[in-house]
């Protein structure tokens, strides 16, 4: 379970202050597939970065499975990212020098587990996302859709509490996008909590719940088909 209590994030840009998130309170239950919508600059990515431990709130509190993400050291936050969160980015963010299997293994390699032990698990995950035949290929030898599947497999390898997807199909054609959404849906069906940022209503519809941000505030929550909290 993820919980945000009165979370705000302000950036200073010279003398100007930019309120990326204003006083957001939100609860995401385990097993939910939350779609986050909103126009550009509404704070979607900021929200995702805060949940993923890439950034910390200026004020408010944030918990993943009861463990606070606010007011912790950089090392603690890094370990939370490594062990509790799986990221899927719009631009895949695979390391071009590594093979698909090595890219998937990366979070566990950072834990210090030898590649020989991680590899079977990575290959299993690649098979799960339909890339069983391409484990030794480098990113440049893969299509966009395939790269995103590798990224999904990588996000899953630590068995994270939450899978965070930032416009995961923003760089893919509609057919490939659908495949990815179906894959995510399938994972959610297996109990994986997913938070996905998108500005495509069709994509958002794959979620079990859709929230909309406007100017850094929560403007709509369709959890129970109702209005914003």
């Amino acid at each position: 379970m993820i919980e945000l209590r009165n979370v705000s994030r302000t950036y200073s840009h010279g003398t100007k202050e930019i309120h990326a998130l204003r006083d957001v309170t939100l609860r995401i239950e385990t097993g939910e597939f939350l779609s986050v919508m909103g126009p550009s600059g509404s704070g979607k990515s900021t929200l995702l970065n805060l949940i993923g431990g890439l950034d910390q709130p200026t004020s408010g509190e944030l918990f993943i499975d009861g463990r606070p993400l606010h007011g912790v050291t950089d090392d603690e936050l890094t370990l939370i990212r490594r062990r509790r969160v799986g990221f899927i980015f719009q631009f895949f963010n695979l390391l071009p020098i590594l093979t698909a299997s090595e890219n998937v293994s990366l979070p566990l390699l950072l834990e210090g587990i030898p590649y020989s032990k991680v590899k079977p698990k990575a290959e299993a995950l690649l098979r799960k996302v339909g890339l069983g035949e391409r484990t030794e290929h480098r990113p440049e030898q893969l299509s966009g859709g395939e790269m995103q599947r590798v990224a999904i497999a990588r996000a899953l390898i630590t068995g994270p509490a939450v899978l965070l997807a930032d416009e995961p199909t923003g760089n893919l054609d509609s057919r490939t996008s659908e495949d990815i959404f179906r894959l995510l849906k399938g994972l959610n069906a297996e109990g994986q909590t997913i938070v996905m940022v998108t500005h495509d209503p069709k994509a958002a519809a794959y979620g079990t719940r859709v929230i909309t941000l406007q100017d850094g505030s929560l403007s709509e929550d369709t959890a129970a088909g109702g209005r914003a909290l």
Binding site: T78, F91, L98, L106, L109, L110, E111, Y115
Partner: protein, 863 residues
């Protein structure tokens, strides 16, 4: 260990993929370490060679008594022999001659008491000479000489054959009476040693009644210190009673300036290597920003990212340092001969054919290589940890994160420059503090200044680009404008490239400034010193005592003056003397004659004061370097050791003299004769009568004396040219270091621009898609490169002039005197600016070609 995974899966692949980068860094470290190792080995080998020859020539002697290089009365021998505890005290003439064989060879000549010397030294005669050396036979014939078997074989000389050796009395013929097996003294100087009977040697080398040294063995059980102090009391002050180890120490002191200079060069090589590593790791951090961002997002800690970069440097440093250690030993092997030659020419004869090698030498180089590499990589590695995962993984133009923000960078830069200025001020004002007025302070100030300016490079580049945009870019078309904007987008990374050029140019300009100033100062001094029209010398034009120079009888001036066309011939003699445990040069001239035409460059006092040096009065002139070291002023008196015992002299003036880096004293020749009883001259300064032809007179002198002795009769102009050539040769290593730094700076620019081009693939694709020509793309990259070169070059010129001046202040003026002034070398500045612009334009060519070849469709899809 999680780091092992990172190295295995990321570093190892990176090293493989970035071959150019890796090879360049390895070569940089290798060169730095090789310089340290080779210079360390060469320095040690030179000292060992001296130590070895001192020990071999010393034999069993526990103590050696030496005085002025001109020799001292042999009457002293009896006093030493009667000191309790002394077993044997034997006289020695230790001098040199030139052997005229298949080629000219400098010979070490030992004149010994043949009846007694075997009590101190072991001579083993070879079989073919077994029937000869009856000592009495030796005594009976003053032309007898013993040579080593090695020398005899080389020259094809057999027993009873004659050899020709140049002595003080000209070329003399000696008969080889025996050959020495390579043992004891016969093993030194590569076998270039000959033994003569003492009286014969005294006669041949103008030392009648004089000896150079007394070697002493002690009675078994006698205490060294007791005997030493007893001898010291038995003889006049001014003589040194030393153990062989003590004599080695003296030699070490004599050549310490030379060693300091080459050590400085090895330091520069390491510093350049460090800068290369800093540059390489900085570029790597910028290039791999996204990779770091991804790793951080996936849970790599800051420490892991820092360790990644340090670990990669560690691996590269192991390879570079190990290679460098090996290459250093090879360098030392090939350089040892040349260094030995230089030391022989400038300081003291030696013959080094082999290096003294212990495993400690490459190990020390290896450790220095590892530590300096890691130190250089630390700063950019720390910067890598500051990269925020968010900005790195999002495909937006990023704001630069550095280890220090640009504001802090300016503060640090200002602080460093300020500290450098404070140190400089302290150095200049507190002249008497050994801590503040030391080369270390100047050294630290130089480093601080270099770092300070390096840190200021981003701000200075920014300022230049603003100026460029406002003033120049309207005139340089779209390519120029775009180049300016591109550079501005990535100030931090581009500043690293500009700093590389800055560093290269500053080393170039400072070194050129030092060379120019030294040359200028020395040549000015030579001009004021060499006032004759022709110089007659028997050795190398700048040979000092101990080098290849056989002195001539001083009375030869009378003979020279008889040559038609000669107006006057003034003798000049220089010898080393011990003064307060320093070996300084004693220069002697006929002051009365010189007063007529020599300007004498005076640092403190008036030219007129030189008259006080005239005969009959105990006055001397002391050079600046010595007066500064000993805090002596005009009017002070100093005690100089003479063969007659110590004599008090008054300092009339402080003069400018660059003859020796350990200090010099000038004295009238008659005064010298009075106390030293030695009547020799190293050279004659000849003036010709008005209207006479220099060439004709030169020819006439050479004709007259050329048969009897080997002479250099050079017109003053040629003599000065020779000196200039020798000075140039002395700076050959500096030129080599300059070339290396410029090369590294260029490599730095290529790597930076290449990284920049790769990063801008998409942007270049967009520009090409809207109609930019390939040539325009190339032009943009080349202009960027040139702009970096101009900024780096301008900064380098400024810093180079300051550092050149500081080096002169801190390193050279201490050794050569305060009159040595900094002379701006305008030619080098012109070259530096031209080189930095042209070389950086050339460095831009390859990246420009890469950029121009960009495939539009691939570039647009590039992420």
């Amino acid at each position: 260990m999680n780091l092992a995974n990172l190295f295995l899966h990321i570093s190892a692949k990176r090293v493989r993929l970035q071959v150019v980068h890796t090879v360049m860094t390895v070569v940089g470290i290798c060169l730095g370490v090789a310089a340290i190792v080779s210079i360390g080995i060469v320095n040690k080998s030179v000292i060992h060679s001296f130590e070895d020859s001192i020990n071999r020539v010393t034999g069993r002697a526990a103590l050696q008594i030496t005085g002025a290089a001109a020799g001292f009365p042999e009457g002293l021998l009896e006093r030493v022999q009667s000191v309790p505890g002394v077993e044997y005290a034997v006289p020695v003439i230790d001098t040199q001659g030139i052997l005229y064989g298949a080629r000219e060879n400098t010979l070490m000549i030992l004149g010994v008491d043949v009846l007694q010397d075997s009590n101190v030294r072991d001579y083993k005669l070879s079989d073919e000479s077994a029937d000869i050396p009856d000592p009495l036979l030796f005594l009976a014939r003053p032309d007898s000489i013993l040579v080593t078997r090695a020398l005899a074989e080389r020259e094809g000389v057999k027993i009873d054959q004659k050899i020709r050796v140049e002595t003080v009395n000209g070329i003399q013929t000696f008969r080889v009476r025996g050959m020495l097996d390579p043992e004891g003294p016969a093993k030194t100087m590569g076998g270039n040693i000959a033994i003569m009977d003492l009286p014969a040697a005294q006669m041949a080398f103008g030392k009648d009644g004089l000896i150079d040294r007394i070697d002493v063995t002690m009675i078994h059980g006698a205490d060294l210190e007791t005997v030493r102090s007893r001898i010291q009391q038995a003889i006049p002050e001014g003589y040194s009673v030393d153990t062989p180890a003590g004599r080695t120490k003296q030699v070490e002191m004599l050549i310490s300036h030379f060693q300091k200079n080459i050590n400085l060069i090895s330091f520069i090589a390491v510093f350049v290597g460090m800068y290369l590593i800093y540059n390489a790791v900085s570029i790597s951090v910028v290039q791999r920003r996204k990779e770091i961002g991804i790793l951080r997002a996936l849970g790599a800690t800051r420490r892991q990212v820092i360790a990644l970069f340090l670990g990669e440097t560690f691996i590269i440093a192991i390879v570079g340092s190990a290679l460098g250690a090996a290459v250093g030993v090879l360098f030392a092997r090939s350089a040892i001969g040349a260094v030995g030659q230089t030391v022989s020419e400038l300081y003291m004869r030696t013959s080094i054919s082999e290096i003294s090698f212990t495993w400690a030498d490459p190990m020390i180089g290896f450790i220095i290589g590892m530590l300096s590499s890691l130190a250089a990589a630390l700063f950019p590695a720390l910067t890598s940890a500051r990269i925020s995962p968010i900005s790195a993984i999002r495909s937006v133009p990023y704001s630069e994160e550095g280890f220090l923000s640009s504001g802090k960078l300016k503060v640090v830069s200002a602080l460093f420059v300020f500290l450098a200025a404070v140190m400089l001020l302290l150095y200049k004002t507190v002249q008497h503090s050994p801590y503040l007025h030391s080369t270390h302070v100047m050294f630290a100030a130089t480093i601080l200044l270099l770092l300070g300016i390096s840190f200021a490079t981003p701000a200075l580049l920014q300022g230049f680009l603003v100026l460029f945009r406002r003033v120049i870019s309207p005139f340089v078309g779209a390519s120029g404008r775009l180049a300016g904007l591109n550079l501005q987008k990535n100030i931090g990374r581009n500043a690293v490239a500009a700093a590389a050029i800055f560093y290269g140019i500053s080393v170039f300009v400072s070194s050129a400034g030092i060379i120019h100033s030294t040359k200028q100062s020395v040549m000015d001094w030579i001009d004021s010193y060499v006032r004759g029209d022709i110089i007659v010398t028997s050795g190398h034009p700048i040979a000092t005592t101990g080098a290849q120079n056989i002195p001539m009888p001083v009375d030869m001036w009378k003979e020279i003056e008889k040559v038609p066309g000669v107006l006057s011939a003034d003798p000049f003699r220089k010898i080393y003397v011990n003064y307060k445990s320093r070996r300084i040069l004693l220069l002697t001239l006929d002051i009365a004659r010189r007063m007529q035409y020599s300007p004498f460059t005076i640092a403190e006092g008036k030219r007129e004061d030189m008259r006080r040096l005239l005969p009959g009065r105990n006055y001397i002139a002391m050079n600046e370097a010595l007066s500064a070291k000993e805090h002596v002023k005009p009017g002070d008196s100093v005690l100089l050791p003479t063969p007659q015992g110590p004599v008090r002299f008054t300092v009339a003036v402080i003069n400018v003299d660059y003859s020796s880096d350990s200090g010099s004293i000038l004295m009238d020749m008659n005064t010298y004769h009075r106390y030293w009883k030695e009547h020799l001259a190293d050279s004659f300064s000849v003036r010709i009568k008005p209207g006479e032809n220099v060439e004709a007179v030169r020819e006439a002198i050479a004709q007259k004396f050329g048969r009897d002795r080997k002479l250099f009769v050079l017109p003053a102009r040629e003599f000065k040219k020779e000196i200039r050539k020798v000075i140039e040769q002395g700076f050959a290593v500096n030129h080599a270091v300059n070339a290396i730094t410029m090369l590294i700076a260029c490599l730095g620019i290529i790597v930076t621009l290449l990284a920049s081009v790769l990063e801008r693939t998409r942007e270049i694709g967009i520009l090409r898609s809207v109609g930019m020509l390939r040539s325009q793309v190339s032009r943009v990259v080349i202009i960027e490169s040139m702009l970096l070169g101009i900024v780096g070059g301008a900064l380098g010129v400024g810093a180079g002039m300051i550092i050149g001046w500081m080096s002169l202040e801190g390193f050279l003026r201490g050794d050569y005197g305060a009159s040595m002034h900094y002379h701006i070398d305008y030619a080098s500045i012109f070259w530096a600016l031209g080189l930095s612009t042209v070389l950086s334009a050339l460095a831009g060519v390859y990246p420009a070609r890469r950029a121009a070849k960009t495939n539009i469709t691939e570039a647009l899809a590039y992420e």
